[in-house]
Subunit: 239 residues, 2 copies
Amino acid sequence: MSTVTKKRREIIDRPQQILRVAREIFRERGYLGLNMDRIAEQMGIAKGTIYQHFKNKEEVILSMAVETLEKRIAMFERAVLFQGSARARMAAMGCAAELFVINFPDHFELEKVLSCSSIIEKTSEKLQAAKTVAEMKCISLVAGLVRDGIASGGLLLPNDFKPDQIVFGLWSISYGGYSIMESQETLKQMGIENGFRLVRDMNNKLLDGFNWKPLSSEFDYNAIFDEVRTRIFSDFPKP
Amino acid sequence: MSTVTKKRREIIDRPQQILRVAREIFRERGYLGLNMDRIAEQMGIAKGTIYQHFKNKEEVILSMAVETLEKRIAMFERAVLFQGSARARMAAMGCAAELFVINFPDHFELEKVLSCSSIIEKTSEKLQAAKTVAEMKCISLVAGLVRDGIASGGLLLPNDFKPDQIVFGLWSISYGGYSIMESQETLKQMGIENGFRLVRDMNNKLLDGFNWKPLSSEFDYNAIFDEVRTRIFSDFPKP
DNA sequence: GCCATTTTTGACGTTCCGTCAAAAATACGA
DNA sequence: TCGTATTTTTGACGGAACGTCAAAAATGGC
């Protein structure tokens, strides 16, 4: 009886086990180094068994991304509870985004692989939808803060702008900034040493551009970053 | 004698011919659909001949990117000559960047493929350097405009900011924004229809955040976009 | 026209993907 | 406990693509 349970559990857990091993390999050897034979060997199972859980290699990758996206949602949900003005809470959200990238470095690499259209195209609509849902959850959390900013009077959005568009702007800076950061060569040539800090600053300046009070010249949002890191995300390793 | 010349020319032109065909295939079938056999077949030469000019598939891709990057440099060099305030010229630069993405749609896809570390790692340092050089040329053109802004008094940069960092911010918004636009289902879910316009607006708001005069509330920088498109880049097809 | 050099060729070894028929493991009723 | 039905696992296999290299073809100089 206990054997039955054990066996069943083993099968149920397998997808996560596969993703765990795949992530390990991906982190160490990158996209081209990740292959199904290697996963199978490392797990001590046959390759065919992996295909019982994942349609193809690309779905393994997409599944890894969805998995870490859930972590990001959890982090965003914690950050949104930060006490302070709407803008301060937005800064806390930025901190969460930054800590996410630092603590789950493989996720960003996964995103880049998946941004190649010919790769994502090999995955099922269903799994793609799962990723979109997870992303939307993050976005709506951020958009909620923009609405809070409007509601509390700190932000007066021009007529032709909508909260989601602000989110798009912040998202672009973060996504673009982190991407550029990783391809280090160019950045060093530019004489930029602390990319993370810079992404924060740019996000702040964008919000300043929308005249979201208090402006970054009136309030030290970088101070919040330390506070958020030590208070809300104390369970993450310090930098 | 004429045969000699012809033969020699053929060999000299080959790399570009290969890139031309490769780009065609890449555009139609993406990264996974681009393979050396296909290039060879399409060109009517043997696969081995391609390897005389390119170390591997990844170098073909990187070379394509460098090739289009040269186009971007040329466009930036034209845009920088726009007549107006430094900020207006920066808007013109944004127009150039946008038109580049529209007119060379494969370039962005190439960038995304190359942003995968395990892919770029297969290319030679030398070729990577060529890409960095091309990128730096673009960056320094933009940075020059920031300096012009400072020199002409429209922009007073806070002590802890340097021109290159402003470029980083603009670059992030554009790179991030265009990336999100191309890949995303998510964008549609967000109810964003005109992504290009939005990227422009965000760049403008970022510069507003730095209080670069005249602010976008005082001057219609979007009007410049039409002017730049029709005046400077009249040789590009209209949208 | 002949030989040395350069260039091209495509068959080949290799790696990895995804499949599938056979084998092993498990479930279950008698 | 045993025998049969069902589920799960296996790894050999066909196919696709990479990159190589010895042989063949083309070219050049005399």
